[in-house]
């Protein structure tokens, strides 16, 4: 873990946040068993900043990502670039979210972010497969997708850079690069990214972090969810802490201390809540 | 394909001879199966008798489903079988389709009807035979209630029922006749469970003699009747031996004779309609050591007298299929 800390000093300039991209108000989710998973979450993210969401796993951060990613129904208000998102109607799905400019690197990339039996090239358009640019009528333009995937894999240093291999044939880090490449190359306004480096080798961690920072510097909004507090602290511009479906507080990254965040993550209010 | 044949060539001898079986007769049994102890089994017995007497060989197959009928006909016709004998009315339509394609092959339908130059139609006067066993049922009944259980509900089986009912009424005008059909599909020919349940139901309504004209379903009827200690009447084949002393008699329909005769005639068979009636001994009732104790002399005298009168035309037994109605029984 010592070596990892050193690596986590991510080089980055101070953020220059722009207009609000994502505004979340009073978001609530009740799961099928009747348990309230999100109990009125409110937060916002502006262009050009990384909001880190810290918390012990299972406190609602997964649900938040899934609601924003269109995989889960919720109540409350979410505005994307000022326009309200459908949280429980027919447009509460991944396609509508992508159309609204939201990209999503899911926490569980092997079960959700990728089809493990699909080749890398097929995975390179997963979720964007309805894009008219890659289709002729109902048919997908497979050779074009293949060429595009091949180039993309070169750019993201996916090894081996063979787009015909199935996703399951790649290491965890390279799988994550395939997902990340797919999600950020289209220039989304908001990137949801969960556990970006879980199960990823050291070399790939660094690369992935650089990509996140570069995206921020390009003026995009990023919601980062990670159970690694170090990662949150290294990448975020602001840090919010979630506990039991509620936001316990929010601090600027440069003012944050691991101890204070740790207390909030344990449900102890520090009085500095935003 | 050729490679396969070369590879398997050694064992091909018997197979080749099978395909070349020329001018042998063929017999197609209807749904219900060759061993239904009744209609189809009668045909089987006839064919076996021909085989034993002539030393000839015949091809056979049993229908498993409606959809196979045409294939079976074509297959035998392609293989050169002649004549092709079929049992059951349901073969009429397939024969009508296939026969024109094989004008040199003779097709025989037992119970069916097809008007083509190379089809022989064999029918029976089942109403007359049923009339005789109906008389016996009425005489044997103590409760004055007798039962009839048919197989598939088609005019042919109603013809059985109607003849039976007339026989019953001739002896005892006050007798009650309970008639049930097993079903409306060919499955009704082979549903002994249902036959058994219908028998119990009729016994419950007071029947103490039950006549089953239901192919394999009848096996269940006769079984249950024997179990419950009442009398039953078999059909088509002589079924007296199935439960000795418990089957009053069997209405014989000499399908065996019909099959034997057409096989014997072989390729010389002439087309046309042949009706086997009482006079031709095409139908009748069975008397053997198994039911000797059940059939009284009085019963035998009465029935034989009626038989003679029917042959002489003094008694007219109404044929249900002539006008699709029965004067003494409503269905």
């Amino acid at each position: 873990m010592v070596g990892r800390k050193v690596l986590l000093r991510v080089e980055k300039t101070p953020a220059t946040p722009g207009k609000p991209v994502l505004e979340v108000e009073n978001l609530r989710v009740i799961d099928p068993a009747g348990v309230e998973r999100l109990r009125g979450v409110s937060l916002n993210i502006r262009a050009g900043e990384v909001l880190g969401l810290a918390g012990v796993a299972g406190n609602g951060q997964s649900e938040l990502l899934e609601v924003l990613g269109g995989m889960m129904r919720a109540t409350g208000t979410v505005r994307m670039n000022g326009a309200p998102l459908d949280l429980s109607g027919p447009h509460a799905d991944g396609q509508s979210r992508r159309a609204a400019g939201i990209a999503h690197v899911p926490e569980d990339r092997q079960r959700k972010g990728l089809i493990m039996d699909y080749a890398a090239w097929e995975n390179s358009v997963f979720g964007y497969h309805r894009d008219p640019a890659i289709a002729t009528g109902p048919l997908m333009r497979n050779s074009a997708i293949l060429d595009h995937a091949s180039a993309q894999m070169q750019r993201f240093d996916v090894r081996p850079p063979n787009p015909r291999l199935p996703a399951k044939a790649f290491s965890g880090g390279n799988q994550q690069k395939v997902v990340l490449a797919r999600e950020i190359e289209r220039g989304p306004d908001l990137l949801l990214i969960g556990q970006p480096t879980r199960g990823v080798d050291i070399g790939a961690i660094e690369f992935i972090h650089q990509q996140i920072v570069a995206l921020r510097d390009a003026g995009k909004a990023i919601l980062l969810v990670s159970v690694e507090l170090d990662e949150i602290m290294a990448l975020s511009d602001r840090i919010a802490v979630i506990f039991d479906g509620r936001i316990m507080g929010e601090v600027a990254a440069q003012d944050a201390s691991a101890r204070e965040l740790g207390l909030m993550m344990a449900g102890v209010s520090t009085g500095k809540a935003a | 394909m050729t490679l396969m044949q070369t590879f398997l060539g050694a064992a091909a001898a018997t197979a080749l001879s099978a395909g070349a079986a020329l001018a042998e007769p063929a017999l197609i049994f209807d749904l219900g199966g060759k061993f239904d102890k009744s209609f189809n089994e009668a045909a089987f017995n006839g064919a076996e008798r021909w085989k034993a007497e002539t030393g000839g060989n015949y091809l056979e197959t049993v229908m498993q489903s409606e959809a196979q009928r045409e294939q079976a006909l074509r297959r035998f016709a392609e293989a050169g079988a002649n004549p092709i004998v079929t049992t059951g009315f349901a073969m009429s339509d397939p024969i009508a389709q296939v026969a024109p394609d094989y004008p040199d092959t003779m097709f025989v339908t037992i119970d069916g009807y097809v008007d083509l130059p190379n089809v022989k139609v064999i029918g029976f006067t089942e109403h007359e035979g049923s009339y005789l066993v109906g008389m016996m049922a009425a005489m044997a009944s103590k409760s004055n209630t007798v039962g009839f259980i048919g197989g598939m509900d088609v005019p042919l089986i109603r013809k059985f029922a109607c003849g039976y009912a007339q026989g019953v009424k001739a002896v005892n005008a006050d007798a009650t006749i309970i008639a049930n059909m097993t079903g409306t599909t060919p499955a009704a020919w082979n549903d002994p469970v249902k036959g058994s349940e219908l028998t119990l139901s009729q016994i419950g309504q007071g029947a103490d003699v039950i006549y089953a004209a239901a192919g394999g379903t009848g096996v269940g009827v006769l079984q249950t009747a024997a179990d419950e200690g009442i009398l039953s009447i078999g059909v088509d084949s002589n079924q007296n031996h199935l439960h000795p002393g418990k089957v009053l008699t069997s209405m014989l329909k000499r399908v065996d004779v019909a099959v034997y005769n057409v096989m014997k005639a072989g390729a010389d068979l002439e087309a046309g309609v042949e009706v086997l009636d009482l006079a031709a001994e095409g139908v009748g009732y069975a008397l053997d050591e198994n039911n000797a104790s059940l059939v009284s002399d009085e019963m035998k005298t009465a029935v034989d007298a009626a038989r003679a009168k029917i042959i002489a035309g003094e008694i007219k037994v109404h044929d249900y299929t002539s006008d699709d109605s029965c004067p003494v029984l409503t269905f």
């Binding site: 990613g69 269109g70 995989m71 799905d93 991944g94 396609q95 509508s96 979210r97 992508r98 999503h104 569980d108 079960r111 959700k112 972010g113 089809i115 493990m116 039996d117 699909y118 097929e122 997963f126 979720g127 497969h129 309805r130 109902p138 048919l139 997908m140 497979n142 199935p166 044939a169 | 394909m1 396969m4 044949q5 398997l8 064992a11 091909a12 018997t14 197979a15 099978a18 395909g19 091809l59 197959t61 498993q64 489903s65 409606e66 959809a67 196979q68 045409e70 294939q71 074509r74 297959r75 392609e78 009315f89 349901a90 339509d93 389709q97 394609d101 088609v154 409306t184 599909t185 060919p186």
Partner: protein, 364 residues
């Protein structure tokens, strides 16, 4: 890492499974006192030894292509459509209604309408199970089984009642008018100078079956819908992540599957019987399961497996004619194929994977 090469998965495993099924069937034949080699020889001769035999083999194969594709398409979405039998029965009803109650000037128009009718009726019969699975989570296997029985009862009622012509004794519809009779392979091949048996029922539906194989291949591997169906089949959470509606995909896939099963009716009802009889499907819906498993749910595999089962079916019918081996032998073979390629897949796969791993280690 891939444990074994793709060809082993696609070709070797089905072949080994088939071989196992064949060996056990051979033992069964031995056990009932017949010679398995002779039996095989008879089957080959009867099914492939003449254009008559081929005509029946291809006729049955056409049925199995449709039902096999139906099961295969559903398999891609990880749905087990065991209701092909009922859907094909309803397809038959669709064909019968089109042929009997509409006037047709030419068979080609009747064929198009019948195909649509068959597909619509088959799809309609798959709709309820699909909706129940998608909306209520009722297991589609159970609902499709129930719908098979309901279909059988429904057709039974129609064929002894409303659809039976006046004076008819057996439960079937009237004959379809002459104009709806499809050209047989004999008619189609005669202009090319090829003499094909006139008696065999193989007909133009065989070509439609092949076309269906091609179209299903395009659907599964070339279209967005196919991409979504496969994705949903591989991982439902991933499908939801990608914005693929599980409800929609389940329903659409089952409609396609039911439609394909229903289309079988243009072969057996319109092409062969030329009227609708009871139990016209003869279990083809269930054979579709074996065909799809054997063909690894790939249209080309389904095509090959359908031909194989067509051969087994026709060969088995021949066996029943010439030997004392009952036709039920085919059912046993079918059961063994389903068992080995489906349920006991791992029994074949795991040792094979070990062998390939060992070979690779030695090679490395």
């Amino acid at each position: 890492m891939e444990r074994m090469p793709k060809w082993a998965d696609v070709v070797l495993i089905p072949l080994i499974s088939l071989l196992l099924a064949a060996v056990i069937s051979g033992l069964v034949i031995l056990a009932i006192g017949e010679d398995p080699i002779n039996a095989l020889n008879l089957m080959v001769k009867g099914a492939l030894g003449s254009t008559y035999g081929w005509g029946y083999t291809l006729y049955y194969a056409t049925n199995f292509m449709f039902t096999g594709l139906a099961v295969a398409v559903a398999f891609h979405a990880r749905l087990f459509n065991i209701g092909g039998e009922g859907q094909a029965m309803l397809g038959g009803l669709g064909v019968a209604l089109v042929c009997l109650y509409l006037p047709w000037p030419h068979w080609s128009l009747a064929l198009i309408a019948s195909t649509v009718g068959a597909a619509l009726f088959g799809a309609a019969w798959a709709l309820m199970p699909a909706v129940l699975q998608a909306k209520r989570g009722s297991h589609i296997v159970i609902t499709t089984i129930m719908f098979n029985f309901i279909a059988a009862a429904f057709l039974n009622w129609l064929l002894v009642g409303p659809l039976k012509p006046r004076g008819g004794m057996d439960p079937s519809t009237a004959r379809f008018p002459e104009a709806t009779n499809l050209p047989s392979l004999h008619d189609l091949l005669a202009p090319l100078g090829i003499a094909f048996s006139k008696a065999a029922p193989a007909n133009i539906s065989f070509l439609i079956g092949i076309l269906a194989c091609v179209l299903v291949w395009v659907l599964i591997w070339r279209t967005r819908l196919g991409y979504e169906i496969r994705a949903f089949g591989h991982s439902e959470p991933a499908a939801r992540y990608a914005g693929i509606s599980p409800t929609k995909i389940t329903v659409i896939t089952m409609l396609i599957s039911g439609g394909l099963a229903g289309m079988m009716a243009i072969n057996n009802v319109m092409g062969e019987a030329e009227r609708l009889v009871l139990n016209a499907t003869e279990g083809a819906g269930f054979i579709g399961i074996a065909v799809a498993l054997m063909g690894r749910s790939h249209p080309f595999g389904v095509f090959l497996a359908a031909i194989l089962f067509g051969f087994l079916y026709q060969g088995g019918a021949e066996l029943a004619l010439w030997t004392s081996i009952p036709r039920e032998l085919i059912i046993v073979i079918q059961a063994l194929v389903i068992l080995f390629t489906g349920a006991l897949d791992n029994m074949v796969r795991i040792p094979l994977e070990r062998i390939f791993m060992a070979l690779r280690r030695r090679g490395a």
